[in-house]
């Protein structure tokens, strides 16, 4: 069992969960993820690692409250215990001194990309951060990014913040004025896809962190298979980072929606039984 240290809402629908996991905290590297189960009957859910503290022995993730499993997670309190917490899984992100790096994050990705941002900053990169949020009140951890970024740009549908433009428009404008050596994007599938499409014409290396459905997370089941670099890959052990220009995005979208109907049915049932 793993003990919950903190679980709270960061902004509407996005929660932070900090769990006691000393070994995972010692071994964690940017770009990796954990798998947890909120209770004995739960699903195995992969969550990107958003931060860790090796001294305190804790690991933090940011998750979007979406289906039954994350709904259950969002109700946990400090001191509660969950039956499964395993990691760090996946290959760490490549960290090096690339020059000017654009970080493009949205949704849970603002959390998930943070360790990479910190490591790239320490490695001597010039960092430009693009944060994509639906509305200004959904912005979080921008202070963290501001501390490591040479430029911080917020894209939002909120005309008051960032002029209401989506991230690809911001990115395209940016590429006209800046020489960018690498783009790294983490967030929902459509965000990562649009970032990869925006950098494709200029051929700027673009790394995305894929988020398919997983079960074991150690390469045993193949639920997370995706097409990258012209081959079928297992995101859990070959990734989650891949070259965004080689992803079969349509396939990834469809596979992520495999259980859409079941998920809605399960959530409706859970809400009926558990909400007043």
């Amino acid at each position: 069992m793993a003990r919950i240290i903190a679980q709270r809402r960061l902004v509407p629908n996005l929660h932070l969960i900090e769990v006691e996991a000393p070994e995972t905290a010692r071994a964690a590297k940017p770009g990796q993820f954990i798998i947890l189960m909120s209770d004995e009957k739960g699903e195995r859910v992969p969550l990107s690692i958003a931060d860790w503290d090796a001294d305190r022995g804790t690991v933090t993730s940011v998750f979007l409250v979406l289906g039954t499993a994350t709904r259950k997670l969002s109700l946990l309190k400090p001191g509660d215990e969950i039956p499964v917490y395993v990691g760090p899984l996946g290959r760490p992100s490549e960290i090096g001194c690339f020059g000017t790096v654009v970080l493009a994050a949205g949704c849970y990705g603002l959390g998930a990309l943070w360790p990479t941002a910190r490591a790239l900053f320490r490695a001597g990169n010039r960092i430009i951060t693009l944060l994509d949020v639906k509305a200004s009140y959904l912005l979080y951890w921008d202070d963290r990014y501001r501390a490591v970024s040479d430029r911080l740009i917020v894209a939002s549908r909120d005309p008051g913040v960032g002029g209401g433009e989506y991230i690809p428009a911001k990115l395209e404008a940016l590429l006209e004025t800046e020489k960018v050596d690498r783009v790294i994007s983490v967030g929902c599938t459509s965000l990562m896809r649009s970032v990869a499409e925006a950098t494709r014409p200029a051929g700027i290396k673009t790394i995305v962190s894929l988020n398919p459905i997983m079960v074991d997370g150690t390469g045993m089941c193949g639920a997370c298979r995706c097409t990258a670099e012209g081959k079928t890959k297992f995101a859990c052990v070959d990734g989650p980072d891949f070259d965004g220009h080689t992803i079969d995005w349509d396939e990834l979208f469809l596979r992520r929606k495999s259980y859409f109907d079941d998920e809605i049915r399960a959530l409706c049932r859970w809400e009926k039984e558990n909400l007043p």
Partner: protein, 499 residues
């Protein structure tokens, strides 16, 4: 396919001889006489009817009663030179335990088995006895039908478990020597049990949240109830085995981290957990599963009880399972139980070459599984939502024998046909899982990704590191993994004592 008979060690032969010479055994051999024993028909193992069982996940076989077990035990001729023992990868003293059953001393019989096999309730269910102990049973040679050794093993283990708390063997004082076992599958659990019995401080590191490896994620409830597995693991825990779940060696901690933490010897039993695909078009469509994923969802994650459990799985109308092994049988019978109207095996060779156990094939046939032999899928097609809707196959015919000695299937030109399906389960085998191996420098790995070991000692190229089961074999059986683990445990014990 029968396994090669195993050469018995002089110590084992001596022990068998001693037991054979016991007075009560000699007495029993005379009464009833051989002729009468040979006349007794093999006792039938009761099972649930096909129409009832194919709708739920309850166990198919029901086990022998005490009365029928004694009758079956009487069929054993208690041979001076028993063939059966040389057919058992873990060298169970089969005549001794069967004669104890005949005597009615079931608990003593269980102890006899446990001298060399810590997981008899599992082996009694999933071992291919018909190609191991039972195929070399002298009664089979003499009268055609062997003693039902597997069914007796199962009976004895079940009897002991339901009779109350299972007694522990006398344990030596703790040596305090730390041994790390990587993987809580059949190999790892066996090695753990053996080493705990030697007094070593054994910790098993398991990536998943339940013990058993393939026994929990792969083999379905209807063949091996989880309660049985749980009880066997409880027994190991009482022997002093410590299990760390949710711990991926190579990720959560490295091999070197464990060494630093004081582990002196290692056993790697990480299995063949990397599913093979055919690399044909459409294999990534929604509705195409690896057997590992399909069975893991249903078994480990209890998707058959969705939405009571959160993990979903497709419930298909027309299910096709590709392959002819035991995993394919488990997959297709699972699809049937989840409501498939048509549940089909698609196998590229003929029935004769199928590696699945005869019992499993028979059970599948009774449950209305369709078998399409000499057929191979070449493409899957989906609808506009990327969901599987059909499979295109080719018919095959058998040509010249290949390296395995089986006749090679060759495509029949122009035999292409398309069948509507909404579920495909690819059960064409697994490869060794490379996750741990990639992180261990200096570990010699063969060209199929298996760890290279000395077959006698199971020693790897790294000192103090031993391995066994599918990570060294590439895809075999539970009992062979357990045999490897026993050998490795003996080597580990010797290694620790030599330091």
């Amino acid at each position: 396919m029968a396994e090669k008979p195993i050469e018995l060690s002089p110590e084992l032969l001596e022990r068998l001889r001693k037991e054979f010479g016991l007075e009560w055994r000699a007495e029993m051999r005379r009464n009833p006489p051989v002729k009468e024993r040979m006349k007794t028909p093999r006792q039938h193992m009761p099972q649930r009817g096909a129409s009832e069982r194919s709708r739920d996940f309850g166990e198919v076989n029901l086990g022998l009663s005490a009365e029928t077990a004694i009758v079956e035990a009487r069929r054993c001729l208690d041979c001076a030179k028993p063939g059966c023992v040389s057919g058992c990868p873990v060298s169970i003293d089969i005549p001794s335990f069967i004669k104890l059953v005949e005597k009615g001393e079931f608990i003593a019989a269980a102890f006899k088995i446990k001298e060399t096999n810590a997981l008899p309730a599992i082996c009694g269910r999933v071992c291919p006895q018909e190609s191991q102990c039972e195929t070399v049973c002298n009664l089979k040679k003499a009268a055609g039908i062997p003693v039902a050794i597997g069914n007796l093993e199962r009976f004895v283990a079940d009897y002991e478990r339901t009779a109350g708390e299972v007694a522990l063997p006398a344990l030596p004082p703790s040596t305090g020597r730390k041994v790390a076992i990587i993987g809580a599958g059949p190999a790892g659990l066996t090695a753990a049990g053996e080493l705990a019995k030697k007094g070593h401080a054994v910790t098993v590191f398991e990536a998943l949240h339940e013990p058993g490896g393939v026994l929990i994620y792969g083999i379905p409830e209807f063949r091996l109830p989880k309660a049985i597995l749980k009880a066997e693991v409880e027994y190991l825990k009482r022997l002093g085995v410590n299990i760390r779940y949710n711990f991926v060696v190579g990720k959560t901690a490295t091999f070197d981290d464990l060494k630093t933490a004081g582990y002196e010897a290692f056993f790697i039993g990480t299995g063949a957990g990397l599913p093979n695909f055919m690399k044909i078009p459409g294999e990534n469509l929604v509705g195409v599963y690896s057997a590992n994923e399909y069975l893991t969802r249903v078994n480990l994650m209890r998707a058959y009880d969705f939405p009571n459990y959160d993990t979903p799985v497709f419930r298909a109308k027309n299910a096709a399972v590709i392959g002819g092994g035991n995993v394919a049988m488990d997959g297709v019978r699972t699809a049937r139980r989840l409501g498939a109207e048509r549940a089909m095996i698609i196998y590229r060779r003929s029935r004769h070459e199928m590696p699945a156990r005869e019992e499993e094939v028979g059970h599948a046939e009774e449950e209305g599984i369709e078998f399409h032999f000499l057929t191979v899928p070449i493409r899957y097609d989906g609808d506009e939502y990327g969901r599987l809707k059909s499979m295109t196959c080719l018919r095959m015919e058998l040509g010249e024998p290949d390296a395995s000695g089986r006749r090679r299937p060759v495509p029949v030109p122009g035999s292409e046909f398309t069948a509507p399906i909404d579920l495909a389960v690819v059960a064409i085998g697994q490869s060794p899982n490379p996750l741990l191996l990639e992180t261990m420098s200096g570990l010699k790995v063969g060209k199929w990704g298996t760890i290279e070991v000395d077959p006698a000692t199971m020693a790897t190229s790294l000192p103090g590191v031993y391995a066994g089961g599918d990570i060294t074999r590439g895809g075999a059986t539970v009992i062979l993994a357990m045999g490897d683990a026993r050998a490795a445990a003996a080597s580990i014990d010797a290694f620790l004592n030599s330091r």
